[in-house]
């Protein structure tokens, strides 16, 4: 029995009637929305959803937004929504799902991702952070260092992968944990970035004790669990609906129209090329969304992140040039600790610099091109001589 669009509309109306938006605190409204199954409608009942088709979510969001309902600020809690939640849903125990999904979705608990390490980025499975079981206490003792951790300074919880058996080949000795960022032994140090601010961090883990109940998935199966996280990380971008001339092209086009003195023929040609490419990217994303709704997902999803990374970089580069003398200036180099990445509220220099991360974060463009070449086109995999060696015997 699946829920229909009509039933969802009734539920939205009931929610709004029972919790008038002008008289309900925003957190209360969000909790009620979760409990009504209108948080992510395709999740199971009791866990924020109703087991409805995923495609019906957009209508629910739109209707609630139109009614002026508060939203949970997906940009601030993106890692939780986009990565931790689907992984917990897929691999968590009932207890874990009940404990974590609601505060995650409401935004009361921010999540971060403790995956990358100084010695393990693209080659994530090479990670060396150790987790050793203290059998008597039923707790894991974790030691190691993570790096480039976005939002670690605002996060209450983390998804963490650590090595639990160094004698096995690297993909097989990993286990996945849910780590309390307030635990003694977790130390977060800001890492200042190319933009001047510190949006990501180093995280040092020293004797951190994680109860076995916070292990996600079986011991030694962490790589399979992590792949669920990574897959969700990469596809979350393609399904979004953007308006024509939305995204990075908007401020450039506005500057072009509003400030004729900046125009040159050479910039015009580049602007038109990028405008066309941005429009084609929008259409490609729209086609992907239509495929998903029609239940025939295409492989295009693996490509959208690549396309957006390249376009964002080229467009923001053009924008700095277009601004001429102003392009020589930067808004503010003060070291800051932002809660979110804000491409629109900042100046062109910031956009240019921050966009450089788009082809690195969430898997580099080179790694994603490998994935497209191998999984979509069926080209031979990269030669691997590390696959069957025990992790402890790998060259480091």
């Amino acid at each position: 029995m699946t829920v229909t669009a009509e039933e969802l509309r009734t539920r939205v109306r009931d929610l709004l009637a029972a919790h008038p938006v002008d008289r309900t605190a925003s957190a209360d409204f969000l909790r009620a929305r979760f409990d009504a199954g209108l948080a992510w409608v395709h999740y199971p009942e009791g866990l924020g959803g109703l087991g409805a088709p995923r495609s019906l979510q957009a209508a629910v969001d739109a209707e609630l937004a139109a009614a002026g309902a508060p939203d949970n600020d997906p940009r601030r809690i993106g890692i939780g929504l986009g990565m931790a939640a689907p992984t917990i849903l897929a691999y968590g125990t009932d207890e874990q799902k009940r404990r974590f999904l609601r505060p995650l979705w409401v935004g009361e608990e921010v999540w971060c991702q403790l995956f990358s390490e100084p010695g393990a980025g693209s080659d994530l499975a090479a990670l060396g952070t150790r987790a050793v079981l203290d059998e008597q206490a039923g707790e894991w003792v974790v030691d190691g260092q993570k790096v480039w951790t976005s939002s670690a300074h605002t996060a209450r919880w983390a998804i963490l992968i650590a090595r639990t058996d160094p004698t096995l080949p690297k993909h097989r000795g990993i286990t996945y944990f849910l780590c309390d960022m307030h635990d003694p032994g977790v130390e977060v140090r800001p890492l200042r970035q190319i933009t001047g601010e510190a949006e990501f961090n180093e995280v040092f883990l020293t004797g951190v004790r994680i109860p076995d109940a916070h292990r996600l998935g079986p011991v030694g199966d962490g790589w399979a669990v992590a792949r669920t996280t990574l897959m969700n990380e990469r596809v979350s971008i393609g399904g979004m609906r953007i308006p024509r001339e939305g995204g990075m092209i908007a401020p450039v086009a506005a500057a072009w129209r509003g400030r004729p003195e900046l125009r040159t023929h050479a910039l015009h040609q580049r602007l038109l090329e990028l405008w066309v490419e941005a429009e084609v990217a929008r259409l490609t994303g729209e086609r992907l969304r239509q495929q998903l709704v029609a239940g025939q997902p295409g492989p295009e999803g693996s490509g959208m992140k690549l396309t957006f990374a390249r376009l964002n970089q080229e467009i923001s580069g053009l924008e700095v040039e277009l601004l001429g003398e102003e392009g020589l200036l930067y808004e503010d180099w003060t070291m800051r600790r932002p809660e979110l990445v804000d491409f629109t509220g900042r100046d062109a220099g910031y956009r240019y610099l921050r966009a450089k991360g788009n082809s690195i974060e969430g898997g580099t463009s080179e790694i994603l091109l490998n994935i497209v070449a191998e999984r979509v086109l069926g080209l031979p995999p990269e030669p691997r001589d590390d696959k069957d060696l025990a992790w402890k015997d790998l060259a480091r």
């Binding site: 072009w256 129209r257 084609v280 490609t284 086609r287 025939q296 990269e382």
Partner: protein, 386 residues
């Protein structure tokens, strides 16, 4: 449906950032059925060896194959309303046919007769038009516009042909595509649009870069034509046809690019050098992955143009310009990569890669270059030149 002969000169300008009209970018079941029929016909009767042999023979068109596609499958009449003997389908279906024709570099006058000439005729209003459309839709006659293949939507229309009075026409038109296959030419003269029997127009074959779409110079020396439209109607009809043609050409370009990508991927998986498949080298993997992304994007752009034309959306001119500005380059790049990644084989006459490169390059000039279409985007999106 009847195509609306919108004139680019008077096209509505999409206001920036223009709420884009909702588009259906997928393929319907009917479209997939049509695709399967066209593809299997071409696989049987129009493989690369056959295309090459015909191109070399100097008469690339295959009338028997054309008859099957046009009449038996009914592809020639897709844009023609049922009451005029056509299928009453739309640009969406015609686009699917063009994808398949591009994939086979088929030397058939589909773009010229079933799209451009058909759209011009649909934009005319004299009684002589209906019988001609019936003949076209039934695949009994081929009719092509006597304009240079490079003529672009939004560009000033030429009228080098003079009417000495009563439809007695004199003038020369160069680079007319598929004139050799035509029974009737649609001639744009100073006094309107005329149907001229091809036999009385002395088409002189030119040596084309693209062997699969032959070009000719048309010389009219007091040739008799039947008037189909007055000058204003004629110009609007031609302008509308150029818009549709450019939009649907994007689908042909998509088909070319797809074939090139698929064949290249197959080749680099098979071909071994340095004791491994050359497709296992990352430099090639990344190039092909990028090309795949471009092809996926070209599909979205081409579908958008076909759908916007089919629904007569006010957004069509911009969507067509975007599709042309994008898909031309993708087809050429795909064909160039195909030649390069086939190595020496790719440079040989026997391998079909060159047919695709020549078609892709010629297509990038046909109905307006990418640069021309970017200029149109500048107008529609209000991003004026300095």
């Amino acid at each position: 449906m009847t195509a609306s002969p919108a004139s680019p000169a008077s096209l509505p300008v999409t206001a920036p950032p223009g709420p884009a009209a909702p588009l259906d970018l997928l393929y319907s079941e009917t479209e997939e059925g049509l695709r399967a029929a066209v593809r299997s016909l071409l696989a049987d009767r129009c493989d690369a060896a056959a295309v090459l042999a015909r191109a070399e023979s100097g008469t690339p068109h295959d009338p028997a194959l054309w008859h099957t596609l046009a009449a038996d499958i009914g592809a020639a009449g897709l844009l023609v309303p049922e009451k005029l003997g056509g299928q009453g389908a739309s640009h969406r279906e015609a686009a699917v046919v063009l994808e398949e024709l591009g994939r086979a570099v088929a030397p058939l006058p589909y773009l010229t007769s079933s799209v451009l000439a058909t759209e011009i005729l649909l934009g005319c209003d004299t009684p002589d038009v209906a019988p001609l459309l019936r003949e076209l839709a039934a695949g009994r006659r081929v009719c092509v516009p006597a304009v240079p293949l490079t003529l672009a939507p939004g560009a000033p229309l030429p009228a080098p042909v003079k009417d000495a009075g009563g439809g007695v026409l004199t003038g020369t038109v160069t680079s007319v595509a598929d004139a050799a296959a035509a029974d009737v030419l649609l001639v744009l003269a100073d006094t309107g649009l005329y149907a001229v029997p091809a036999a009385s127009a002395a088409p002189t074959p030119l040596v084309p870069l693209d062997l699969t779409r032959p070009l000719a110079r048309i010389t009219l020396d007091a040739a008799a034509g039947t008037r189909l439209a007055d000058p204003a109607t004629a110009r609007a009809a031609v302008a509308g046809a150029l818009l549709s043609g450019a939009g649907l050409l994007a689908s042909e370009q998509l088909g070319i690019a797809e074939w090139c990508l698929t064949r290249t991927v197959a080749h680099v998986r098979e071909r071994h050098q340095f004791n491994r498949p050359v497709g296992s080298f990352q430099a090639l993997k990344h190039r092909l992955a990028r090309l795949w992304l471009d092809v996926a994007s070209a599909r979205a752009a081409a579908r958008a143009a076909a759908d916007a034309l089919a629904t007569g959306s006010p957004d069509a001119p911009l969507t067509v310009a975007v599709a042309q500005a994008y898909c031309s380059g993708v087809a050429v790049r795909a064909a160039e990569e195909c030649v390069q990644l086939h190595g020496g084989t790719g440079m040989t006459w026997e391998h079909p890669a060159h047919l695709y490169l020549k078609r892709a390059k010629a297509d990038s000039l046909a109905l307006g270059t990418a640069g021309h279409h970017r200029g149109l985007v500048a107008d529609f999106a209000e991003l004026p030149a300095p």
